[in-house]
């Protein structure tokens, strides 16, 4: 790199790091101080551009930054210290990695001369995080720092996004050099394809136009690729059914009549049946994972043709053979599809598509999400349904943890816009819900943020109630408390002969008192008739964090269910 002549002052590595963050337009960084990052914290103290959010555990720092990124189109930023700071962050990093979320994690490291000496709070951060980052760097020379920061942001946000870790030894933070931040960076080994191959797109359209039983299946790629309007246009032009994965919810409006619900292990009957029986499948920004298509051998259909659009070539033909692969940015590819469709006169065969919709209508008639609405015990589904009814017109974001409550939230809350549903899809990390809600609320201070969780998940990051108090983040926690690790209990009931090994949550805290001790508002609701008033009360408290502890039916299960290793059409229904 060449520096243009001029007066430049020497800055320390810590100052350079903060200047790089300011250059990247970083609003918030989530972190926790420690010995190896003290020079950096000193610089945080001296500046005002980047606001530091102090979490109570490094895992939550990464989750909050991850949710900040999911709910905006920006890169989340984390700062942790060496050793345990990094290892605590690993769960958060892996969560972001599995869902392709752009996060830059800056970690302190022991001084370069101490690396490898088993120094206090030393861990091989690059080695520990290697399998769960898009890329990582150890900056050994202050001269490489600024360009490494640029690369980190570039890598995190482009192509298939993902977390990037920059490990900065303490002596590099205090060393000095001239600061120069490059406008852009190019890497010979990294050139993600953006534009889809137009011949392949033509081929795909021809297949779609000839389809008798078409299906459009979209994932997190549509959300992350900001392609929701283009998807809506395509689906409406073609008149085909559309399903979303758990990660893809909100990518297509859930209240649109062409939406057949989520698919997969706990997907709707109609979505899974249409997926299994279609003759042409268009997959967009999705990866055919085991929770979505079940067993690939069972999913396979000789006559079905599959078109797969994805920015990551390695996602294509990984679990299922694809007939028409299209590598590219989903938005660009969908725009090109819409252009080619608009330019031509061909449209799908209306008779065939009508017959197909009739079939889907029949499947819909199965009413696969039904549950006992007259129960004397609170049904968890009813809480989510009520939550949806009361908040659907608000500027609303919903986060969740992992388990039954997550599936009910996905099934019963209708997301019409992308980036509104924030959950850990790939890694399935219990404990994300509360830190996710905090990250979202910081990004959208005027919006309403609800965290649908369970009494097991919420305890995995419960300490963040303190962070919420410090920064006055009035998130609404909807705790579906069934005194069980519900999803574990469900699997034990179905597949392990009702032996509920260690899945009962004994010695639960009084969540109302617990919440109050952090300075928030707590409510306990145990009668169905109190659900709606409680929700109304909670959401009317604009400035308070409210913890609603709903005592729900202990034996309720999530239906439909495709048992692990089974095929999509082998659902267990209510």
């Amino acid at each position: 790199m060449e520096l243009t002549a001029g007066v430049t002052t020497e800055l320390s590595g810590a100052e350079i790091t903060m200047r790089c963050l300011a250059e990247e337009g970083v609003e918030f960084m989530f972190g926790y101080p420690g010995g190896a990052v003290l020079p950096l914290y000193d610089e945080i103290f001296k500046q005002e551009k980047v606001k530091h959010i102090l979490v109570r555990h490094e895992q939550a720092a990464v989750h909050a930054a991850d949710a900040y990124a999911r709910s905006t189109e920006k890169v989340g930023v984390v700062l942790v210290t060496s050793g345990p700071g990094v290892t605590n962050a690993v769960t958060g990093i892996a969560t972001a990695y599995m869902d392709s979320i752009p996060v830059v994690i800056i970690s302190g490291q022991v001084p370069t001369h101490a690396i490898g000496q088993d120094a206090f709070q030393e861990v091989d951060a690059v080695g520990v995080t290697r399998p769960c980052v898009k890329h990582n760097f150890l900056v050994k020379d202050i001269k490489d720092l600024a360009v490494t920061m640029k690369k980190a942001f570039y890598l995190a946000a482009t192509g298939r996004p993902g977390p990037v870790l920059v490990d900065i030894p303490k002596d590099v933070q205090t060393a000095k050099t001239n600061f120069f931040y490059p406008q852009s960076v190019s890497m010979r080994s990294y050139n993600p394809v953006v534009k889809g191959h137009s011949g392949q797109i033509r081929k795909a359209l021809n297949l779609l136009l000839e389809a008798k039983r078409p299906m459009i299946y979209t994932g997190g790629g549509v959300v992350l690729g900001n392609a929701a309007p283009e998807l809506l246009q395509l689906v409406h032009t073609l008149g085909f059914p559309c399903t979303n994965t758990l990660m893809g919810l909100g990518g297509y409006p859930a209240t649109d009549p062409q939406f057949v619900g989520m698919l997969g292990m706990h997907g709707t009957y109609e979505a899974n049946m249409a997926m299994q029986n279609c003759d042409v499948l268009l997959a967009i920004g999705a990866r055919f994972d085991d929770r979505v298509i079940g067993n690939p051998k069972h999913f396979f259909q000789e006559e079905r043709r599959i078109i797969h659009v994805d920015i990551d070539p390695s996602s294509i033909s990984k679990r299922v053979r694809v007939d028409v692969p299209i590598v590219g940015d989903v938005r660009e590819v969908l725009q090109e599809m819409n252009r080619q469709l608009a330019a031509g006169k061909e449209r799908p065969d209306p008779v065939a598509v009508k017959t197909w919709w009739d079939q889907i209508g029949e499947w819909r008639g199965r009413d696969c999400l039904k549950y006992d609405r007259n129960s004397k015990i609170i049904k968890p589904q009813s809480v989510v349904e009520k939550l949806y009814e009361l908040t659907k017109d608000m500027d609303m974001y919903v986060t969740s943890d992992v388990g039954q409550h997550q599936m009910w939230a996905a099934q019963f809350y209708k997301f019409n816009k992308p980036r509104r549903w924030i959950n850990s899809g790939g890694l399935g990390t219990m404990g994300v819900g509360l830190p996710y809600a905090l990250g979202v609320q910081l990004a959208h201070p005027e919006a309403t943020v609800a965290c649908v969780t369970g009494e097991a998940s919420i305890q995995m990051c419960i300490q963040e109630l303190s962070t919420a108090k410090q920064y006055r983040l009035p998130v609404k926690i909807v705790n579906l408390n069934n005194r069980y690790m519900g999803m574990v209990r469900q699997w034990q009931e179905f597949f392990h002969g009702n032996r509920y090994a260690e899945s009962y949550m004994d010695a639960l805290p009084d969540f109302v008192k617990l919440t109050e001790s952090y300075g928030h508002v707590g409510m306990r609701i145990d009668k169905p008739e109190d659900v709606e008033p409680a929700l109304r009360e909670a959401f009317s408290r604009k400035n308070d964090l409210v913890f609603m502890d709903f005592i729900t039916d202990q034996t309720e299960n999530v239906f439909p269910m495709v048992p692990g290793g089974k095929g999509l059409s082998e659902m267990i229904l209510v």
Binding site: R130, P131, M187, S189, S314
Partner: protein
């Protein structure tokens, strides 16, 4: 691949994390010191090889991946073998080394150290041809490969 610290562990880690075989792996800097070239010998179905290629390409440090077995290529591996060479075996060992175009690099009154270059199969054949008890020690580099003719891998 970029000649960066950690690049090798990214490749090795990818193979173990995704359950791919590594039969051998060789790596060294090229004439351009910023680049290293690695030859990996692996096995799997066409689908698996396609995934390995894609996953390798996804690594940020990897600049280019080619499947040498897609076309004609040359493959060479170097082996050093220490063999017992005393008494009546001594003459026989020398002859075997000559037949396989090996070179004797080091001689003591009890042993020869033989250098042999060739495909993995040739090296296996040499070891197979020796009386097993005569082999004292072997060390192999793993295969390096290059395309035949005009076919070049250049960045």
């Amino acid at each position: 691949m970029e000649n960066e610290p950690g690049a090798l562990s990214r490749v090795a880690g990818l193979f173990s994390a995704r359950g791919y075989n590594i039969e051998s792996l060789t790596v060294a800097p090229t004439e351009d010191p910023s680049l290293s070239r690695m030859t990996v010998v692996t096995s799997g179905s066409d689908d698996v090889i396609e995934q390995i290629t894609k996953q390798l390409n996804k690594l940020i440090d990897i600049v280019k991946v080619v499947d040498l077995s897609d076309g004609d290529h040359i493959e060479r591996e170097l082996m050093l073998v220490k063999v017992r060479a005393s008494g009546k075996d001594r003459e026989e060992m020398k002859r075997m080394a000559d037949i396989f175009r090996g070179r004797i690099l080091d001689v003591t009154d009890k042993a020869y150290t033989i250098e042999l270059t060739g495909t993995g199969a040739k090296l296996d054949a040499f070891l197979g041809a020796l009386e097993q008890g005569a082999i004292l020690e072997t060390v192999r580099t793993g295969a390096s490969g290059i395309g035949r003719g005009e076919r070049i891998l250049k960045v």
